[in-house]
Symmetry: C2
Subunit: 241 residues, 2 copies
DNA sequence: CGTCTTGTGTCTTATACAAGACCATGCAAA
DNA sequence: TTTGCATGGTCTTGTATAAGACACAAGACG
């Protein structure tokens, strides 16, 4: 096997398969060809292909089921919540948030937006202000900032049947953006008057401030999200390994 | 190959190797036998052994270096900081903390200790109060709680040459405890008078409260740590994948 | 100071069988 | 006839083996 590319073969295979998913050549939910067939197509052994598939599965780009086949992963609310939503109640159990969108505007990017999302100065962004509600109580206020270039004609889940749908599902199916990773920076901040009004707490109550930058499968920064979490009845959970 | 054990062979091999490390049969820094030799010893193929080794490396129990060999991982301050210390400055760079121990006592476990560390009521614990200092400024106050049964005759890094040594290094080399995982719960809390005195902030300043339970390679809860981080100049960083 | 040799982990291939899922067939019961 | 279900065939991924080429590190040797 010729290897003008310096990377190991299994990494090249992984990149090829990832490209097929990112480009939309293989759509969400679609079954991949069976391993022997795909390996023959790519001109590699089954073992090499399997190593590439294992890595793609680890990154949640595909799902494999013994006896059935390998499928391009689907983005669902359950998965988005399980993977990216780290809020737990005091018993340590996951909570199911409702969402209330309060404002959507399109505006020029701020300096912070330009830096975090690697935009060119003067680019436009969409801003979504919303609150998240656990068991009837508003517990998070947040602002989501999206590069307008990546989300043309931004459509949001506003219809009743979509209210329970996580926004990352919309990124995927409306805009073709596959969210795979996020960096978060956490700090503590006092509640502003607006925070206090929404969250029903005193002004100055310590809130957990979460600054998230989200990346898609192609490695682009696609979302900046600043959240304020009322931690009177909830915690942000992290597992360190 | 007989398999009365239901688990796949590579998992059984992984468990055997882990046991050899946890029990001390293979000590920290020691080179493992070469792969073909070890595979023959265990009566498995090289491929099966390599799969087990890959998992142990992922959990930081061994280190592999092409051309040199495979070694039982050593616990160093650098590794403990890199793996478990998530504080960054505002530029996003890691900080190098100094440590000031203010108080060490042995006392009966509280209810919270019993629950978090899975102790029997009435068990004793060591408590270590300390502060952590970044670039000359105290930024964290924390209390570490350890089951006395696991840390008999607790020895702490008090000598001058040990001041830069992370406490997990001592757990490993003084008490044979290999820290591999931690669960953290984060919230925001106002600074108490004592917090404010140490951190040089106003009473009521929002602090990031970190409640950590640490686990060793055998799966035991071995440490409860409650930290308060002053986030005026630092952040707690998380990567979500 | 290069070069060779030896020992190590890494990559790739090939083959075989195990285990899970699905489906068509066909028999038995209603 | 229709329904229900057991059975076996066949497709899938998962596990385990073996063998060889390759890349890297360290020490020996000229």
């Amino acid at each position: 096997m010729r290897r003008p590319d310096a990377r190991p073969l299994y990494m090249q295979v992984e990149a090829i398969l990832k490209e097929r998913i990112v480009s939309g050549a293989w759509v969400s939910g679609q079954a991949l060809p069976a391993e022997p067939e795909l390996a023959a197509d790519l001109g590699v052994s089954a073992g090499t292909l399997r190593r590439a598939l294992a890595e793609l599965e680890r990154r949640h780009l595909i799902e494999r089921r013994q006896g059935r086949g390998t499928y391009v992963a689907q983005q669902t609310s359950e998965r988005a919540l399980g993977q990216f939503f780290r809020v737990r109640n005091l018993a340590g159990n996951p909570v199911e948030p409702e969402t209330l969108i309060t404002r959507v505007v399109t505006a020029p990017a701020s300096e912070e937006d330009v830096e975090c999302l690697h935009l060119s100065p003067g680019a436009e962004v969409h801003r979504i202000d919303r609150s998240r509600i656990f068991e009837g109580e508003p517990r998070i206020v947040e602002r989501i900032t999206l590069p307008a270039a990546l989300f043309p004609g931004l459509s949001l889940p506003l219809a009743p049947e979509q209210l329970g749908t996580e926004i990352y599902v919309h990124y995927r199916y409306r805009h073709g953006i596959i969210v795979v990773r996020a960096d978060e920076k956490l700090s503590a901040t006092p509640a502003s008057e607006e925070d206090a009004a929404v969250l029903g707490c005193a002004v100055g109550t310590p809130l957990l401030l979460i600054e998230r930058v989200t990346f898609d499968a192609a490695g682009r920064a696609v979302e900046l999200r600043v959240s304020r979490l009322d931690t009177r009845a909830h915690r942000y959970a992290v597992e360190i390994v």
